[in-house]
């Protein structure tokens, strides 16, 4: 690794500074994150663990620009995303972040190929041929080339999650955020999914942050971050 790459690898891709986030639950204010500070280096493969309600999903949603903090800074690639407009955040999500959801969130009427192609269709600069090539490559990476015409409801849970992973990596993101990606899967499939994510993390040097409450998966990650009552306990 030369100096430049080393500097680049050392640099944080995500940095949260004193982030607060609270919700109203009826008439009660729930502090989901209480002055949380945290950073994520390029190429890291990190599991975020914690009990239900600890603030894992809230943290992921804030990093993914799906929600706005009450206060604090969230820097992605040195850009404070809390200051971005809605359209700028959309653009950032499309170009830099890939999402994997617990319940896959595939579009049921679209086949596997079309589901994976979805995030690329808003890239006006990309030709149809380029898009198709990228989709084929992503499906190959997750081992689903032969299922490209299948509808999601014809696939198993593990296959659906692999489609979701292909959809997340097809845009060549710098960061993949996965919210409980194995929660709906049996343990064998869950291990396969985590291994696949790790493989892609190594192959594409993409930073992965996923949250899980499954302690058994923690042995397969490089770094584990524990969150409790809205505070990081590494």
């Amino acid at each position: 690794m030369n100096e430049a790459s080393k500097r680049s690898a050392d640099k944080s891709i995500v940095k949260l500074e004193n982030v607060h986030k609270s919700y109203m639950l009826g008439e009660t204010t729930v502090n989901a994150l209480s002055g949380l500070s945290f950073s994520l280096k390029r190429g890291e493969f990190i599991a975020l663990i914690g009990a239900s309600g600890a603030g894992k999903s809230t943290l992921l949603n804030l990093v993914g620009c799906l929600d706005q903090p009450d206060s604090g800074k969230i820097l992605i690639d040195d850009v404070d995303v809390t200051q971005l407009s809605d359209d700028e955040k959309s653009d950032l999500r499309n170009h830099k972040i890939g999402f994997i959801f617990q319940s896959f969130n595939l579009i049921p009427v679209l086949n596997v190929f079309e589901n994976v192609e979805l995030p690329l269709m808003i890239r006006k600069e990309m030709s149809v041929a380029e898009r198709s090539e990228k989709v084929r490559k992503a499906l190959k990476d997750v081992g689903l080339e032969s299922f490209h015409k299948s509808l999601p409801d014809k696939l198993s849970g593990g296959q659906r999650q692999r489609v979701a992973i292909a959809r997340a990596i097809v845009t060549d993101p710098q960061l993949i955020l996965a919210d409980e990606p194995t929660a709906n899967l049996d343990s064998k499939t869950a291990h396969m999914i985590i291994d696949l994510l790790h493989e892609l993390n190594l192959k594409h040097s993409v930073t992965c942050l996923f949250c899980s409450h499954d302690e058994k998966l923690m042995g397969r990650v490089e770094r584990t971050v524990r969150i409790k009552d809205g505070i990081i306990e590494e």
Binding site: L66, S90, N105, L110
Partner: protein
């Protein structure tokens, strides 16, 4: 290859077939109804326009002595177009000679027609027999008002004056009022003979003998009890004048009308010629046409608004149900980087696709209904016209095009407004939605 966004739209339409079909039926029937209604209004417009221009012999343009439209009947001598005025009109028309199909002189007068037994008032139109011949055979008249021109077994004033310069035409109802039952070709010479009496241009009572040779209809209910048509020379004799009321100009193509009207007005003003010129749709000479069409347009407009409202509600309903069921998908799209506008665009494409298919089906349905009505050969009584005419429901391609654009705009607008608001909801709230 079809763009992915259109494929998504098509697949989403098929996602809930029953709802899509209901929206499509509402749009199809609404579109077909509007096309047929506009076809009917278009047909009535053509009938009334043909009647105003050709049957009434107003022409596309009519020339009167200044202020004659208001004053001719009270002071005809002062407001008639005399030969010098007629020369001015023809001089002004010279630059437009290539656009003119033919011209006709017209004189009008009022008086009493007497069969010896009964006398009733009449309103006479003295017409040029040559122009009458051209009008009766004119393509527009043959197409739109054949019923108004097909009496008398093909005979017209041109053929009548060749053997009877005093031959006149009266309406059937006027004939009945003076004791003659149509058809008039069965009348004896004695029955045929009538006397026309009127106050002439000099204020004296005058009368001429005439023979009923033809029957006609004015095409207008309120005139059919009064109308007499005669060669222009008969009415000039009756009114003791060589003047006329108006010159009518019939154009080859109506497209030049506005420009020609403007030019002629300027020409009369520049030369200080005391002539008024009117287009057939000017209130001064075509009030019946204008008022009738005005009424039909208001009626058509009201129906259009009602149907568009129903279509808009149908699209809103379909879209609202769609976004309730697909809230989580909207959240997913937003998470993948779709802007609110891009998500709305996907839904709007669904509405547009549904509308395109529905309007095409509506156009096809209107053609089928029009062909069926044509086959039934139904007769209708257009407002204010005398007698019936064939019901024409000819879908007009241009109107179909405008209606399609209107439907597309409505469906795009309503779907955009319905969906856009939803896309502005916080993404995490969209993502946790359990759906319908």
């Amino acid at each position: 290859m079809i763009d992915l966004s259109w494929r998504i739209a098509a697949k989403n339409i098929l996602r809930n077939k029953r709802r899509s079909l209901a929206t499509m039926i509402a749009t199809t029937v609404g579109f077909a109804g509007l096309v047929l209604l506009s076809g009917y209004i278009d047909c009535v417009d053509s009938i009334l326009k043909t009647n105003t221009i050709y049957i009434k012999q107003n022409g596309h343009l009519s020339f009167y002595k200044k202020n004659a439209v208001e004053n001719f009947f009270s002071r005809p001598a002062l407001y008639a177009l005399m030969s010098e005025d007629q020369d001015h009109v023809y001089a002004a028309l010279k630059p437009w000679k290539n656009d003119i199909e033919f011209t006709a002189s017209v004189i009008t007068g009022m008086g009493l027609i007497s069969s010896g037994e009964k006398s009733v008032p009449f309103m006479a139109t003295g017409i040029d027999p040559e122009a009458d011949h051209v009008i009766k055979k004119h393509a527009a008249v043959r197409k739109w008002t054949p019923e108004l021109a097909s009496d008398n077994g093909g005979a017209d004033f041109k053929s009548v004056v060749s053997f009877d310069p005093s031959g006149i035409s009266i309406t059937k109802s006027l004939g009945e009022m003076i004791g003659h039952v149509p058809p008039f070709n069965k009348l004896t010479d004695e029955q045929r003979s009538v006397q026309l009496a009127a106050k002439n241009f000099f204020g004296d009572l005058n009368a001429v003998n005439a023979n009923i040779r033809l029957s006609h209809t004015t095409g207008m209910a309120f005139l059919d009890n009064l109308s007499v048509q005669a060669p222009i020379s008969v009415i000039q004799d009756l009114l003791s004048t060589d003047g006329i009321t108006a010159i009518s100009v019939f154009l080859k193509d109506e497209a030049v009308l506005a420009e020609m009207l403007k030019d002629l007005k300027q020409s009369f003003k520049k030369n200080n010629w005391q002539i008024d010129v009117y287009a057939y749709n000017d209130e001064a000479v075509g009030s019946f046409y204008l008022e009738t069409m005005g009424f039909l347009f208001v009626m058509g407009g009201s129906f259009t608004l009602l149907i568009l409202g129903a279509v808009a509600l149908s699209v809103v309903n379909s879209m609202t149900m769609g976004i309730i069921e697909r809230t989580k998908e909207i959240g997913t799209l937003r998470a993948l980087g779709f802007t609110p506008r891009a998500v709305t665009g996907l839904f709007a494409k669904e509405a547009l696709l549904l509308t395109i298919v529905s309007t095409a089906a509506g156009a096809a349905l209107s053609l089928v209904v029009a062909a069926f009505v044509d086959h039934l050969d139904l007769r209708v009584f257009p407002p204010g016209t005398a007698g019936s005419v064939k019901l024409w429901l000819r879908p007009n391609v241009e109107i179909c095009g405008y209606l399609t654009l209107l439907f597309l705009a409505i469906s795009y607008g309503t779907s955009f407004l319905t969906v856009y608001r939803k896309t502005k909801i916080k993404i995490i709230d969209l993502l946790i939605d359990a759906g319908a």
